[in-house]
């Protein structure tokens, strides 16, 4: 499993700017990754996923980049809006394992 951090990294961006949220993973066998968005007081919501046979995947205003060489995952949000303010978690799965392992999470604050 992955470590669970006690201190949530934070990121503040101006409305309209692009945001980049990073996630490092430790298991080179991880082959499926998901980014979740969690707003205050709510459950996590699926944003975008990527499998290890890809290095980039795009959705609406979001892009996920996967660098397997350095075991790094990033979420890019274009034209960040106040509604994007939330905690973002990356989660990884290893070979159809019975659970996903969550990263520490990053708190994104969008400044109007």
């Amino acid at each position: 499993g992955e470590s669970v951090g006690l201190h949530l990294p934070t990121l503040s961006v101006q409305e309209g700017d692009n945001s980049i949220i990073n996630c490092a993973y430790s298991n080179s066998a991880s082959d499926y990754f998901i980014w979740y968005k969690q707003e205050s007081g709510k459950g996590p919501q699926f944003i975008i996923d990527i499998r290890s046979n890809m290095d980039k995947r795009q959705g609406q205003r979001v892009t996920v980049l996967l660098n397997k060489t350095v075991k790094h995952l990033s979420l890019q949000i274009a034209a960040t809006q106040p509604g994007d303010s939330a905690v973002y978690f990356c989660a990884e799965n290893i070979n159809l394992d019975n659970q996903f392992y969550f990263g520490t999470g990053t708190s994104l604050t969008v400044i109007p």
């Binding site: 201190h7 459950g43 996590p44 019975n98 996903f100 520490t104 999470g105």
Partner: protein
């Protein structure tokens, strides 16, 4: 809409008084998970069911139990809540191993 529903959204219980949290799903997913999430931390898996097969995480306290009487419902029982059990409890489902999760909105448990 198909979804994962958790009741109640907020639960206040007394120290040591048993409490049950409920989760229902209309997705007909095979797997149901219970996660505990404390402030500013990643969700921590307590246990999960694949159909009727129960899987307990090694570090889940005995104080936490679960029941899944049918495909649609899953319950989390906390036999003697302590102050340290105050947290958000998240229910999630997935179609199968290695599939992404659909989360409920969570139940915020307060122990007084």
């Amino acid at each position: 809409d198909a979804m994962v529903i958790q009741n109640p959204r907020y639960q206040v219980t007394q120290f040591g008084k048993p409490v049950t949290l409920s989760c229902s799903q209309t997705l007909n997913h095979n797997v149901m998970y219970w996660y505990q999430q404390k402030s500013s931390q990643a969700p921590k898996l307590l246990f999960h069911y694949y159909d009727k097969d129960f899987n307990n995480e090694a570090d889940t306290p005995d104080n936490f139990q679960s029941r899944r009487p049918n495909t649609s419902f899953c319950f989390l029982d906390i036999r003697s809540p302590g102050l340290g059990d105050a947290a958000m409890y998240l229910c999630a489902t997935s179609r199968d191993w290695g599939n992404g999760y659909t989360f409920g909105s969570g139940t915020r448990l307060t122990v007084v």
